[in-house]
Symmetry: C2
Subunit: 383 residues, 2 copies
Amino acid sequence: MSVTAPKGFRAAGVAAGLKTDGGRDVAVVINDGPSRAAAGVFTRNRIKAAPVVWSQQVVKGGRVRATILNAGGANACTGSPGFQDTHATAEHVAEALADSAAEIAVCSTGLIGERLAMPQLLAGADAAIAEAARDGGLAAADAIRTTDSVAKIAFKRGEGYTIGGMAKGAGMLAPSMATMLSVVTTDADLTAEQCDRLLRATTARTFDRVDADGCTSTNDTVLLMASGAAGVTPDEEEFAALLTQVCDDLARQLIADAEGATKSIAIETVGAASEDDALTVSRAIARNSLFKCAIYGEDPNWGRVLGAVGTTDAAFEPDHLNVAINGVWICRGGAVGDDRSKVDLSPREVTVTVDLAAGSAAATVHTTDLTVAYVHENSAYST
Amino acid sequence: MSVTAPKGFRAAGVAAGLKTDGGRDVAVVINDGPSRAAAGVFTRNRIKAAPVVWSQQVVKGGRVRATILNAGGANACTGSPGFQDTHATAEHVAEALADSAAEIAVCSTGLIGERLAMPQLLAGADAAIAEAARDGGLAAADAIRTTDSVAKIAFKRGEGYTIGGMAKGAGMLAPSMATMLSVVTTDADLTAEQCDRLLRATTARTFDRVDADGCTSTNDTVLLMASGAAGVTPDEEEFAALLTQVCDDLARQLIADAEGATKSIAIETVGAASEDDALTVSRAIARNSLFKCAIYGEDPNWGRVLGAVGTTDAAFEPDHLNVAINGVWICRGGAVGDDRSKVDLSPREVTVTVDLAAGSAAATVHTTDLTVAYVHENSAYST
């Protein structure tokens, strides 16, 4: 169950020849209404791919009829010809749906700096629209994979409505937003303003707290499309909770499948003076190469954790810091604590807890280890 | 020629048993005057090792009689017992030299979080002081190595005076300051105020512009010790230029020997609205794991360069950016430029040039590639 779990949506994923391995590479998600309220959250990188620039304009109108997505090319750093390619793609899809290009969102992922193979992409769009069906959600999720080893999908049911979603992203995973594409759908009846508010609040606490390698991409996009087909106006608090669960589920799937990772690491900062402080500290650790190598080596190296904490401006006293790895408080009061040999780092799931002893706020960032396979994969990606 | 190239200095490096391989691990640099003006620049990490806290106090007095250095233990995150160890070391050296502990600087490097083996260290200090001689500079440089494969030394002659230096550091190399220890000596006659001013200005443009892995250590220290033994008050401008050459030479030796690196990468940002902007951009690229993996793979992946540039707040227009790798402008106007197959990435030395097209300021940061060997070395360091 993916983006087609909610009523009112059709989807498809087809092989259009953009990927060299012949796999699916073009997806479409069509909202048949009755509503088409929508919102989007995009990369904060100032180098924005053409489809990001386009889709930002589309969601400003608050309505999305369909989203066309492709792997096999990011259409980033392609100048105005690249933007014209995105525009032409939206026009092409709009014509096939007898609708307006101003309500067609576009997402692309793949290599930066190369033009898309437009004949293949447009033919793929035609094929995807022709195939789009109520059971097409999984094929769509499959088609947007790049180095993802598995398709990422999630869904949740609320009181009379459903939220579904798909995502891709395995490298360049960092805030602002994990580098990724995600489309989340619902058959609840929401206004565009609600979509925008709920999506921003949710991504800030889910996708924005995934940080595999500190590298922010040019193409990050999360779209929320609401069909209203369930005929239900949801309780906003319940909807927000379910949306958070769907996005959190997808975000964790991204980390679980991150390039070359052998560990999924949750970095909890507690006892912080503010949530911002907690986030800053968790992020600094998540981006510390030496710490990430240590976890790969199953070495509970709390010195590297403190080294990362010390680079931040969060409120803390160095000799009040406590650090636990997988529940063993190996650093107490800024110095050596419990026996490090008690730390079991053999499971894939690792939890690092940093207690700043400066307040009661907390935040968690999810990251991965830095591995030989990560280096291999990212030194050979485009060659 | 190292720290004993200038007159007035004796040094030694001895094996005290702190390193498990039996190599030299305790060094001393003694200033026999007539002057003992000195200054220091230290890590900006808020988690400061005991010897950093100690030596910061020492250099506030503007005078250093001797510096005692050890590898085989950082004495960081060791609480007040660790600080007492540093204090005891300074007292011990002061007693042997019949001098004041308030003028004995202490530097330590090695693992974080473990107490030093004090009996060995103090015995090593005695041996080093006994051996200290005018030709001991190289042995001292050898003794402060951790994962450094070679000793790093440099010297320059000015008008009637000499500047010499040694450094160590191969991992945790990042600003603020490359993670490192360095002692620079001169027989020129300088005031403590001059030492401080000249050292700060120089480190900001040399050691601070080395960034191997973005990880800032707890122990970074650069000391300048002036004996006045040459009886020459130098032209300050000439001295500053020579000091910069010595520190730049040492900084480049650090990058050339950085853990697991196969490439030494100079990241020049030109056409910037300000030097700060240029530095910010060069640093963002130097810290981008995906870019560093690409260079390891000899892949001139300019998209990853732009992806890093886009995360900064420097002044630029995305479609005015130009990027050259080893002199080939493969990105022009924010899009594909000259033929990437013309880029030869086989040499160890790599230059990435980013033209922001926003002004005339420039800055260069030196970094390394991210390699399989880096991950191996840093996943196994403490186990």
